[in-house]
Structure formats: C-alpha cells, structure tokens
Amino acid sequence: MWRDALLVASKDVRIELRSRVALWQVLPFAVLVLVLFGFALGPGPATLRSAAPGLYWLAVLFSTVLATQRSVAIESGEGTRDGLRLSGIDPGGVFLGKAAAVALQLVAVQVLLGAGLVVLFGVRLEAWWLALVASVLATIGLSAAGVLYGALSAGLRVRETLLPLLVLPIVAPVLIAGSRAWSAAVSGAVGPGTSWLKILGPFAAVYVAVGIGLYGPLQETS
C-alpha cells in the first residue's frame, strides 16, 4: 500500500509540475482571498490582525477545495479511471497517494499565505511551533477529507458544485481548531492553544483511516 501510495503521489506531483495548476491558479487564488478579506475588513490594523488567523484558515479551506477538484480532474477521463482500477494498485494506496499530493500543494499554499499574513496583516507569531504543528495536522486532515469526498463526487456531472457543499461542512472543525490554535500562537497563549491540537490530531487520524477503508468501494462507481 505504501509503495502504491508513493507511486500515485509521485505521478500526481509530476503532473502538477507539468500543468502548473497549483502554481498559476491555486496559489494566486489563496492570496486573492487574503487580499479580498483585507478589503472587506477595512484598513484598521488591529481588526485585521485579530481576524488574521481565521482568514488564513478560510483561505486554506477554499484552496483545499480547488486542489481537490484538480486532483479529481486528473483521473476524470473515462480511460484513466478505468486504468487505475485495472492497474492492480491498492485503493488505500491510491487514496494515500492522492492525499499526499494534495497535502504537498497545501503546504505550498500555506507557506505563501503565512508570508502574506506577515506582510499584509502585520501578524507576528509568538509561538511559531504551535502554528506549525497545527498546520501540519490540519493539512493531513484537510487533504484526507478532501480526497475522500473528491472520490465520492468523481465522475458526477455536478462535481464542481457538489464538492464544496460536501467538503466544507465536514472540515468546519479544522477551521475552528486551526483558527484558535493560530490565535493562540499569535498571542503567545500556548496553554489553551495546544488543546486545539487535540481536535486537529484525531480529525486527521480519523479521516486518513476512513479514507483507506472506504476508498475502494468509492472507486466502484459503475
């Protein structure tokens, strides 16, 4: 399964490097969201700074939807979907591989967004390690949940509209816990901040486990 996961992940990453969808669409979109929030919440630096963690995570969530759409689109051709099913790759491996590729893109998005937060919103992280751990756990959870729902909506004509409706409520806990953990990291209140990791951790674990277990049945859409 791990070998298969690596194979699928490297395939998806290679396709991404060739098509540059993440580079030219997902990353600019994330920054755009950040800037638009800046417009919406006005130029007052105090408001912006206090809202920054929430905005950061909202931008990450939207980017997750985009990255997942793209990840599904790679396998959207009738031929490639059949090819993957006929290939003998373990479905759990396909899930892990695709989730890993999405996670990698989310890491890039978050690096950029983090920089944007510092530059545009004047945010300073007091406890950067807390923010980092929260981001890592959240990234795992988001990409697992995203790819799982991506498989659920794969091959449907209404995929583009259905996927956000399905994914966004599911990842609401990540938004909540991520924002709180980052708020704590910004204010330096490490104690209450770390307790949010107790939500991000289980969320990631649960969705990785569920994904490995249920991806197989989901591939069988005919």
Binding site: D4, L7, K11, R14, I15, R18, S19, I74, G77, E78, G79, T80, D82, G83, L84, R85, L86, S87, G88, I89, G216, S222
Partner: protein
C-alpha cells in the same frame, strides 16, 4: 483447458439500462474473437464486464478462473483493456504513461523502463514522440501509446475496443501483428470492430452481437499459416511511418 472467458446468460446494467441482456460466450486461451454488431449492441459493455469494471448482475461470469459474481477486482490486474478513450495521463509522456502502468502492476523500476522501451519501439513511438506529453500527440499517436501500455503489461486477456479506429494503414497492420503474437503467446483476445474487413481476418471466431446478446457466431478468417506474410507487410509499413 479452462476457458479464459466463460459467460452464460450474463446480464450487465449501465445505470438502469440492460447493456447486456444475456450473453453466452466462451473464449479459450490463445483464441482471437472478433465482436461485430451495430452501435449500441453491447460490444463495449461486454469488454467492460469481462474486465470486471461493470458488474454482471445475473447469469455466470468467470474470467481467467475468477468468478466475477463473487469478486470482480481480482481479475483486473490480469486483463488489459484498450478503451475508446485512451487511458493516458495528458501531462505525462508516452514513456511515463507506460512506465506508470508497469510500476503500478508491481514491476521494478529497472525492468519497467526496459519493458516500456521495448513496447514503445514496437509501436513505432521513438525519439521525440516518446518524451512528448500525451496531450500534444495526435489521436493516432495516442492510440499507439495506449497500445504500448497494453503490450508492455502483457495481460492474459486482451480486451480491445475498436483497435483499428483512428489508425493509419501502418498501425492497422501493426495491430494485426500484435493480436497474432498475443494469441500465439497463449493470451485470449476479444476485439470489437465496425470494420469486418479488418477484424475478421484476425479472428478465429466472429461473434455478432445485437440487443445486448450474441446473435450469431461465425468462423473467422485467421489462418496461422498466413502469419509470416502479414508480419512482413507490417515491417514494410512501419518503416514508412517511422
């Protein structure tokens, strides 16, 4: 010997439509069967059911010893399907596509490279064509790349949907030689076609489908003794293409 494909009254649904309404078909290893019939006769569904992609909902279906009614995933890695829509990743080159298929089947990296090279050579995808992303290949070249995947995987059962579609004369005779070689190596081949002139000479048996079932079976035109001249013709045509 056990048949490679054994279908009895097999029914398969596409959504709620009975794409196969009760197919009886046996294909022996080393045999080439051409499936003819009008559009919507169920030819493609037959291939997809044999590949374990479409569930058979009633009747018997045993492919390569696997009972598809029980488990239709086990057989998949042992069959090769050339679909209408070439199973290629657009951003990857022909060579990378073939290599991915082989690596997915558990072949080690070095062996995969060698086998992919061999298959691509055979299909006349050489030099620049090998490294070009599939997106920028012509329809015929994509078809060749998809065939290379099939050749490289060397499955026990070849399921080819309209293998001649969109190919030039050279590639068509190439298909003929690939099919003949696969059968000689003991693989069973089921191919669909709208062009009897091209497919019947390749086949041991011709099956005419209509209404989602086998309406008629006829002898095919495959003559084992005729294989050498066919191969000569292939080489000549191939040289023209390359």
């Amino acid at each position: 010997m056990d048949p490679a494909v054994h279908l009895r009254s097999a029914v398969a649904l596409a959504g709620r439509f009975p794409a196969l309404s009760g197919v009886d078909l046996d294909v022996a290893p080393g045999e080439v069967v051409a499936v003819l019939g009008p559009n919507g006769a169920g030819k493609t569904s037959l291939l997809r059911a044999c590949a374990g992609l479409v569930p058979v909902t009633s009747g018997d279906a045993v492919v390569l010893g696997c009972d598809l009614r029980e488990d239709r995933t086990a057989v998949r890695r042992r069959v090769g399907l050339l679909g209408h829509d070439a199973s290629l990743y657009d951003e990857l080159s022909a060579a990378e596509n073939v290599r991915f298929a082989l690596r997915a089947a558990g072949v080690s990296s070095r062996v995969a490279t060698a086998r992919a090279d061999g298959a691509l050579d055979r299909l006349g995808l050489v030099g620049r064509l090998r490294r070009t992303p599939a997106l920028r290949l012509s329809a015929g070249q994509r078809r060749r790349a998809a065939l290379a995947v099939l050749v490289a995987r060397a499955p026990e059962l070849w399921l080819m949907d309209e293998p001649h579609a969109g190919l030039d004369a050279g590639a068509r005779s190439l298909v003929a030689s690939l099919v003949a070689d696969a059968a000689t190596d003991g693989a069973a081949v089921v191919l669909t076609s709208h062009e009897p002139d091209l497919s019947v000479p390749l086949a041991d048996r011709v099956v005419v489908m209509a209404g989602g079932r086998v309406a008629e079976v006829r002898p095919g035109g495959r003559d084992v003794a005729a294989a050498p001249p066919l191969l000569v013709a292939v080489k000549g045509d191939d040289a023209d293409v390359a």
